[in-house]
């Protein structure tokens, strides 16, 4: 008969510990925290419960990846650790090495699953994305009427491009029911007509918040409504680092509400500068063609009719001295840079004004009701009423004689 092995208490605990660690080792456990106590050493002791059972747990300070203050009684958590036995007391417990709120974990998993599903269905397909209009006029904004996002968008547009009308489509952007409200607001955006015209673009937006706050923008219904939206959409949710499903589905993603406003429309300074440059080329072209016409005319007059007392250079000097022409006044706004650029080019542009020769005594003559000035007396009837445009004012006359001699040829 073999001897029965009698364990000492410590021997038993050691053997049980070895068996337990070998059998289960490191593992994940979901449970609710209770009886949390943080010792002066910084170690946190708590019980993990699930309604019918409980287990002791300890998280040693040196291992804490998260601050202890994030843990409170009643929070459901996912913990990772090693199941072991504390030998001196013969108590088995979990030595926790990582801990995170269970809600977040579940949300993260749901996010990844939805993302994979929608990706497979083609909801993020670049080929489906609509281009944004260059100069939008009617802009829908789906957001909270009291939120920071709306204020940010308004302040950027007021400065950069106030040539739009914002149509606020109110929706709560966090909490239960928010996803459904965003879907409804998007539906309204599509149906909406402003003086018969549809919206040009719609922004779906909210400011920063917790993962829970942003969750309506990870909702499948919102994703599908964005995908189905027949007008271009911009998604601007939270901060740069917050990437939501809505961001992936929308036609464009803006990292913040302010940048959505920048993405939406050009800057008026930019457009003013572009208009100025085109207007300048109009002026230069007009000037070049008028100067050659003017020079031809001048040659004829000098050789056949008159002797003009001023030399060409003096005439040109006078013209250069003239103050800013109407074109320049047209473009000089209150934007300092544009005004400076204009001042620099004012004189050049002024050269091209076709009315300048009138100041020097030339005139334009029109048969009444005719838009083009007369170049030839042929076809003008005696007794016809003509209008002569001078540098200042006009004259109405009646034709007494028509001489068809070709003076200039």
């Amino acid at each position: 008969m073999s001897e029965i092995h009698v364990f000492s208490v410590s021997e038993l605990n050691r053997a049980a510990k070895a068996t337990l660690e070998q059998a289960l080792g490191n593992l994940w456990v979901r449970g609710e925290i209770s009886n949390l106590a943080v010792a002066s050493s910084g170690h946190a002791y708590f019980t993990l419960v699930d309604g019918t059972s409980e287990i002791s747990a300890v998280r040693f300070r040196s291992r804490l990846p998260l601050p202890v203050t994030e843990l409170t009684d009643g929070v459901e958590v996912l913990v990772y650790g090693r199941l072991t036995i504390y030998e001196p007391r013969g108590r088995y417990q979990l030595v926790v090495t990582a801990i995170q709120p269970a809600g977040l974990g579940a949300q993260q998993i749901a996010f990844e699953q939805l993302k994979a599903k929608l990706h497979q269905e083609g909801l993020f397909d670049p080929g489906h994305k609509l281009p944004l209009p260059t100069f939008p006029r009617r802009v829908g904004v789906v957001t909270s009427p009291t939120g920071a996002a709306l204020r940010d968008i308004v302040s950027v547009l007021e400065r950069r491009w106030p040539l739009v009308e914002l149509i606020l489509l109110p929706a709560s952007v966090q909490g239960a029911g928010a996803a459904a409200e965003v879907v409804d607001a998007l539906d309204r955006a599509v149906r909406f007509r402003v003086e018969g015209a549809p919206l040009d673009v719609v922004i779906v937006t909210r400011g920063g918040g917790s993962a829970e706050d942003l969750s309506p923008f990870n909702d499948e219904r919102v994703a599908r409504a964005l995908h189905a939206c027949s007008i271009p959409t911009i998604s601007a949710v939270g901060h740069e680092i917050d990437l939501t499903i809505a961001d992936l589905v929308a036609d464009r993603r803006a990292p913040t509400p302010s940048s959505a406003a920048e993405l939406l429309a050009p800057d008026r300074e930019e457009i003013a500068a572009r208009a100025l440059s085109v207007a300048r080329s109009v002026a230069h072209r007009a000037h070049a063609s008028l100067r050659s016409a003017d020079e031809r005319l001048h040659r004829h007059i000098q050789s056949y009719v008159l002797r003009v007392p001023l030399r060409r250079t003096e005439l040109l000097d006078q013209r250069l001295d003239h103050s800013v022409g109407s074109l320049c006044r047209g473009l000089g706004g209150r934007w300092s840079e544009t005004a400076t650029a204009l001042a620099a080019h004012a004189q050049t542009i002024d050269l091209s004004d076709p009315h300048r020769p009138l100041e020097r005594g030339y005139s334009l003559t029109f048969v009444q009701g005719n838009a083009s000035p007369l170049r030839d007396s042929t076809g003008v009837q005696r007794g016809a009423t003509i209008e002569t445009r001078l540098w200042r004012g006009k004259l109405g006359s009646e034709v007494k004689e028509v001489d068809q001699a070709d003076v200039h040829r």
């Binding site: 106030p162 149509i167 606020l168 309204r188 007509r193 109009v282 074109l327 473009l331 209150r334 076709p354």
Partner: protein, 71 residues
């Protein structure tokens, strides 16, 4: 005329003036029109004021707009 139409118009005028042999009267007309359009663009950029209205839907599902004051 909206600003995009005005910008397109201005660019069209510039293009027309680049063509050879544009008649004298046409040049005058284009220059004057270009000046007027540029002035209009300036006015629009300078004087535009952002407007905000709020969409409301009644029980019959009819949408309408009401003034919205951001405060």
């Amino acid at each position: 005329m909206s600003i995009d139409e005005d910008m397109a118009q201005l660019e069209l005028i510039a293009k027309r003036l680049e063509e050879p042999n544009v008649p004298f009267e046409e040049t005058i007309r284009l220059f004057e029109e270009g000046t007027a359009v540029a002035k209009r663009i300036r006015t629009q950029l300078n004087e535009a004021k952002l407007r905000i209205r709020r969409a409301v839907e009644n029980a019959q599902g009819v949408l309408s707009l009401e003034e919205f004051d951001l405060e």
